[in-house]
């Protein structure tokens, strides 16, 4: 006869309520693990999805994610000329915040190397890749935009032509994909007043130099657009992504580019390591510690619940002892209840999580290996938490049934 089951049946409402409480607690533990996974997944998403073999960044920096990296856009061509390189692409990434439909809209602007890269590799759930050199964008669904929506960024309007799923930046903001030139335009967008002031300052600086005084045409040129000035470089980009030709010696490519003296090269794995050990490390450890604390708290709360359930049965346990019940019968009653409570709590946690986690503003990724680990932890917690109740039950004397 299973006493644990019969006790649960008798006190079903109370037990169910307790199981719901334990389930909610375990859901938070599960969620913390999911947030931890989501943080890592978001951090590595671009590196993984872009799939480049090498990242060329500004010399001596750990860019473009861990710190700012600025390299000339012509790096793309220089890199492409290196033996063993199959393809190179510019990489521009910056975050902007604008108002859209009276709501703040944060977009991580990503530049695609049009026309080679139109975003065909993106996980589109609607629409199409970029089809024009300007004024089109692909937005992640997290941004809340729809196909055909027109977004004014700077002086230009951009039409949403494609929607992706799960493309977010390290901060959890949705990605928006533009052509490289549009991405740079958005990045370096200045107001008319700023442009006028910059031109005036440029003219004043030119006048201050001998060359300005002797070359009137130069003064005239300072009043034109920045991009038309030969002395002013084109806008800088963050990095160049390199695909190495199949069968080529990747270390040879790295050595060649590293020898230039104005670039640092990272492999995709090194870039991932920079992200994990640098940018998200503290958050990762914080979440890990918080999860460990939650597990300890869950164990304590479960122990108190099982202990209280045992206290309620002390007289019955004394009666069982008086009847000659073995310790294993009494131990089984408490341990089985703890395990059932843990198991039901775990199942409830899973289903609560399935419902609530997708509603979180950032991704919560619950992986199968985490579920298995948590299941093992719950079994251990259940056993440990029943120890206090078992200890109390073992101390009960048969003669207490007579009182």
């Amino acid at each position: 006869m299973n006493l644990a089951f019969r006790d649960i049946r008798h006190n079903f409402a109370r037990f169910a309520l307790t199981a719901v409480g334990v389930g909610l607690l375990l859901m938070i533990v599960m969620g913390m693990g999911g947030i931890y996974r989501g943080l890592i997944e978001d951090a590595l998403l671009l590196v993984n999805r872009i799939g480049a073999d090498l990242w060329v960044v500004q010399q001596g920096t750990r860019g473009p994610f861990a710190e700012v990296s600025r390299i000339p856009v012509n790096f793309e061509d220089r890199v492409r000329a290196v033996p063993g390189v199959l393809n190179s692409r510019g990489f521009v990434s910056h975050t902007i915040q604008r108002e859209f439909r009276n709501q703040p809209l944060r977009i991580v602007v990503q530049g695609l190397s049009w026309p080679d890269d139109k975003g065909q590799w993106l996980p589109l759930i609607a629409g199409r890749p970029l089809g024009a050199a300007h004024y089109e964008m692909i937005a992640d669904r997290l941004l809340g935009l729809s196909i055909g929506d027109v977004l004014k960024l700077g002086r230009d309007n951009y039409t949403v032509v494609g929607i992706t799923k799960g493309m977010v930046g390290q901060g959890g903001d949705g990605l928006g994909f533009f052509t490289m030139r549009d991405a740079l335009t958005i990045q370096w967008d200045l107001s008319s007043e700023s442009i006028r002031l910059e031109r005036a300052a440029r003219k004043a600086r030119a006048f201050g130099q001998d060359i300005g005084k002797t070359q009137p045409f130069l003064i005239e040129r300072t009043q034109g657009p920045s991009s038309s000035l030969p002395v002013l470089a084109k806008p800088m980009i963050s990095a160049v992504l390199v695909d190495v030709r199949p069968g080529a010696d990747i270390s040879s490519v790295i050595n060649t580019i590293s020898a230039w003296g104005d670039a640092t090269v990272y492999t995709a794995d090194e870039q991932r390591a920079l992200l994990l050990k640098g940018m998200v490390d503290r958050a990762r450890r914080q979440l890990g510690l918080f999860r460990a604390l939650l597990i300890i708290i869950s164990a304590i709360i479960m122990a108190l619940i099982i202990y209280t359930l045992t206290l309620d049965k002390l007289h019955d346990i004394a009666t069982l002892k008086l009847m000659g019940a073995r310790n294993s019968t009494i131990l089984g009653l408490i341990l089985q209840q703890a395990l059932v409570l843990g198991a039901i709590g775990y199942v409830l946690a899973y289903y609560f999580g399935q419902w609530i986690f997708p509603r979180f503003p950032r991704r919560v990724i619950v992986q199968q290996e985490d579920l298995i680990s948590l299941a093992i932890v719950v079994v251990i917690i259940s056993i440990l938490s029943s120890a206090l109740g078992i200890w109390k039950a073992m101390k009960v004397q048969a003669n207490e049934a007579l009182q």
């Binding site: 019955d316 009666t319 009847m323 000659g324 048969a398 003669n399 007579l402």
Partner: protein
């Protein structure tokens, strides 16, 4: 008629505390309870009745003396000579002032549990439990939880539970205290019926003098001493 002893005590004493606070709860108690015999143990509060009952029930042990059950010595001095819990489940049945049924088990399960604790297979235990409950006249309450039963019905289930493993000894501590006089007498008569039908020795601690005629013998304790051994017409000679 002489019956084989279900229990025999020799020189039982029990002392609580020491020095100025020393209390002698039992002093040189000697008695024998035959199988099939139903005996009442009476006396004022504090006389040592419950102490004697818990000693022979292997719940609390005497300070000195010997206890024999079914002819085998189970206690020598203050030390048990057997695995007391195993011995209790095989040889002794208990009935308390309150029925002390397990509240989350039905009437049937309460009796069945006593059998299963003693390693009776589940099916056999259920059959025997139903027989016992029917025998005690509460067969229509098999599936009721204890709180659905009256006090008298609960005590009948408790008696059934105490008899489940065919014990040689049934000990009852004021089993009718919570019952009205009619129900109380019914329970006392039940003990007599059980003792005679099942062949168990039944020792009942009681304050209920209205039902004493049911018993074969009446033992009286005062200040820890067994002072009177009254034989009744329907009782045995011992």
């Amino acid at each position: 008629m002489t019956k084989a002893p279900a229990i025999e005590t020799k020189g039982l004493t029990k002392t609580y505390g020491s020095g100025n606070t020393e209390v002698q709860a039992m002093i040189d108690v000697n008695f024998t309870l035959g199988k099939g015999e139903v005996v009442a143990l009476v006396g004022p509060s504090g006389a040592g009745k419950s102490t004697l009952l818990s000693s022979v029930g292997l719940i609390n042990f005497p300070t000195s003396g010997d206890i024999f059950v079914d002819g085998a010595q189970v206690v020598a001095g203050s030390e048990p000579l057997v695995d007391v819990r195993a011995f209790r489940r095989k040889h002794i049945g208990y009935v308390f002032q309150r029925a002390n049924l397990i509240p989350f088990l039905t009437a049937l399960e309460n009796v069945q549990l006593a059998l299963e604790i003693n390693d009776t297979p589940s099916g056999e235990a259920k059959k025997r439990a139903i027989e016992l409950i029917n025998y005690l006249g509460v067969g229509d309450r098999l599936k009721n939880l204890p709180h659905m039963l009256s006090g008298g019905q609960q005590q009948r289930i408790a008696v059934a539970r105490s008899l489940a493993n065919n014990p040689s000894l049934v000990l009852a501590d004021e089993p009718t205290a919570a019952l009205d006089s009619v129900r109380g007498r019914q329970v006392m008569e039940l003990f007599r019926q059980v003792a005679h039908d099942q062949g168990a020795g039944v020792l009942v601690v009681t304050h209920d003098h209205r039902s004493l005629d049911v018993f074969d013998r009446i033992l009286e304790m005062e200040d820890g001493v067994l002072i009177h051994k009254i034989e009744q017409e329907n009782g045995t000679t011992h």
